[in-house]
């Protein structure tokens, strides 16, 4: 004949953090303390999370950059407005560069018509009629009977 022994409810390990943070109820606290007296692994885990919590709590206060809060704008649209104004500033600078940069003169790219005409004229004056300058064709002349 066997007797039923009531099973000890399994304690979740996360109770250790709750125990450390004093976030357990009385029953949980008692159960954790009972387990700690018999379970070396739980004691080791408790030591580790105690140390870890201390390290996080010891993190120094992080300071914002100088003047950060003076620059803050509480208006909801301020972030969008900053983007828009930033974009406008970039566009203005770009437009300024385009206006200020030495523009490529049309004279630089248009063929110098006058010079070409003069050159062409000079060539023409020196050369003979191109058609006439062609080598004479051998043309058979009709023989007289």
């Amino acid at each position: 004949m066997t007797t039923d022994v009531p099973a000890t409810p399994e304690l979740p390990e996360e109770l250790l953090s709750a125990y450390l943070d004093d976030e357990c109820d009385a029953d949980e606290r008692a159960a954790v303390e009972a387990r700690l007296t018999t379970d070396a692994e739980w004691r080791a885990i408790l030591d580790e999370i105690t140390e870890t919590r201390a390290v996080v709590r010891a993190l120094p206060q992080r300071e914002p950059p100088a003047g950060f809060f003076e620059r803050l704008d509480p208006r909801p649209w301020s972030k969008t407005a900053r983007w828009i104004s930033g974009f406008a500033a970039v566009a203005a600078v770009a437009a300024g560069f385009m206006l200020a940069a030495p523009s490529s003169s049309h004279d630089d790219v248009t063929p110098p018509i006058a010079a070409l005409a003069d050159s062409h004229g000079a060539t023409q004056s020196l050369a003979t009629d191109p058609i006439s300058a062609l080598a004479p064709l051998a043309v058979a002349t009709p023989s007289t009977p």
Partner: protein
């Protein structure tokens, strides 16, 4: 403003550093922390109209945490390709006199950053801000049992990362 309710300017002036510190511990870098604080203060301005005097810093911590979690969700929807990690670029060399202490802080911050967002948030709210489990539960809209679990698992992961 009703009695006990600060103005926006008073919040920014008197609690801005607190907000910034929480934002930095959640985000892990100055640039994101600044964005979080900016957005949090926008929400503070709207929220002050209905704010009931109580734990002001608890309320502020909840706001900045919600801003952070909203940003996390937004990034998850639109993931970006991360740049190759180069710790030398991310962490400027420490020149402070208390170099060892600063190096330890950086190490702890890096370990915090490596935690899943939900665990990091729970650990920061508990151990940096000092909220109770009930307050964290309310702030995040999750059961207290989940808070317990996230804090404990977060600490265990931190411990592994730091050892």
């Amino acid at each position: 403003m009703p009695d006990g309710v600060p103005t926006w300017e008073e919040v920014a002036r008197d609690h801005g550093r607190f907000l910034y510190n929480v934002a930095y511990r959640l985000a892990g870098n100055d640039s994101d922390a600044q964005d979080l604080v900016q957005e949090a203060l926008v929400r503070v301005r709207r929220g002050l109209e209905t704010y009931k005097p109580g734990s002001l810093e608890g309320w502020l911590a909840r706001i900045v945490t919600n801003v952070f979690l909203d940003e996390v969700r937004r990034k998850r929807r639109r993931p970006v390709v991360a740049l190759p990690e180069n710790p030398d670029l991310v962490v400027p060399p420490s020149v402070a006199a208390d170099e060892a202490s600063e190096a330890l802080s950086d190490e702890v911050q890096h370990a915090l950053q490596a935690l899943p967002d939900e665990f990091r948030t729970a650990v920061v709210l508990c151990d940096v801000v000092g909220l109770s489990y009930d307050e964290i539960s309310e702030a995040q809209g999750i059961p207290v049992g989940t808070v317990r679990s996230r804090i404990h698992r977060g600490r265990r992961l931190l411990r592994s990362a730091l050892s």
